[in-house]
């Protein structure tokens, strides 16, 4: 993997869809039903794999390599407005922050969902309210994710949407 022609390896892509597809599916599967729960836990499993990858992998998937610092974000915003070309081998600063919030959101959906099924919280409103709240923030984050991809497409003149399928950035 190099900066000239970066790509997402097959594990990154598989794990991405293992998290993403269940999240989207669960908007259609009735809450509380077994399919909804099983699918939700699939997403959590994908998240676990992504966490392991973030700790152990050598490349851009490693959490240490995410450009999260304030200076990086400022530099990236500057470059967006200056129209100067700058390629990131992995995720850009704004994308990195969005993904952290997405991963946390999936985690909180999973935790609140699990709590809804526990005897101690059975019938209580607040675990359900929490779960519903995170389903709304998930939609907002998804929108930001798609918006970022669209802007990436326009900026770098590439079909960014396909990158997580074909691997080519």
């Amino acid at each position: 993997m190099n900066s000239r022609n970066p790509h997402w390896d097959v594990y990154t892509r598989l794990i991405h869809w293992l998290i993403a597809i269940p999240v989207i599916l669960n908007y259609f599967l009735e809450t509380g039903d077994m399919p909804h729960k099983v699918v939700g836990y699939l997403s959590l499993f994908g998240l676990l794999l992504r966490a392991l990858m973030g700790i152990w992998s050598q490349g851009t998937a490693n959490f240490k390599n995410l450009p999260l610092k304030k200076e990086e974000v400022k530099k990236f915003l500057q470059f967006l407005f200056d129209r100067k070309f700058q390629a990131y081998p992995g995720h850009n600063p704004l994308a990195s922050w969005t993904y952290i919030f997405i991963w946390l959101n999936v985690l909180f959906l999973g935790i609140s969902g699990f709590m809804m099924g526990m005897d101690q919280f059975w019938g209580l409103d607040w675990p359900e309210d929490l779960h519903r709240f995170f389903s709304y923030t998930m939609q907002v984050l998804l929108f930001l994710h798609l918006l970022g991809l669209a802007l990436d497409s326009i900026k770098y003149k590439r079909v960014s949407f396909l990158a997580m399928i074909t691997g080519k950035k």
Binding site: Y27, F28, L29, E30, T31, G32, D33, D119, W122, G123, L124, D125, Q139, L142, F143, L146, L147, A150, S153, F161
Partner: protein, 83 residues
């Protein structure tokens, strides 16, 4: 890109699939308090609600202490869904 965003918005409006129990007007529904009191002979009720799908729904425990979630038809009191 616009089509994708539009499509996503359209899809999200279809979300939250729902159990539906009746299309009858609420005037035909059993009185909530009486119905709930009746159910309390069989179940410990933690929550009683009217769902957007026109069901009486309870969360609670049966006599054996097992968790139950039951959707009732509010007109005749029959069980529509139980888990």
């Amino acid at each position: 890109m616009k089509t994708l965003l539009f499509g996503f918005l359209m899809i999200s409006s279809l979300s939250y699939a729902e159990t539906k129990c009746t299309t009858e007007p609420t005037s035909k529904w059993k009185d909530q308090e009486t119905f709930k009191k009746d159910l309390e002979k069989t179940y410990t009720i933690k929550k009683f609600k009217v769902t957007p799908g026109n069901c009486y729904e309870i969360y609670g425990f049966d006599k054996a202490g097992k968790k139950i979630e039951i959707y009732f038809n509010p007109v005749d009191g029959s069980i529509v869904k139980q888990r």
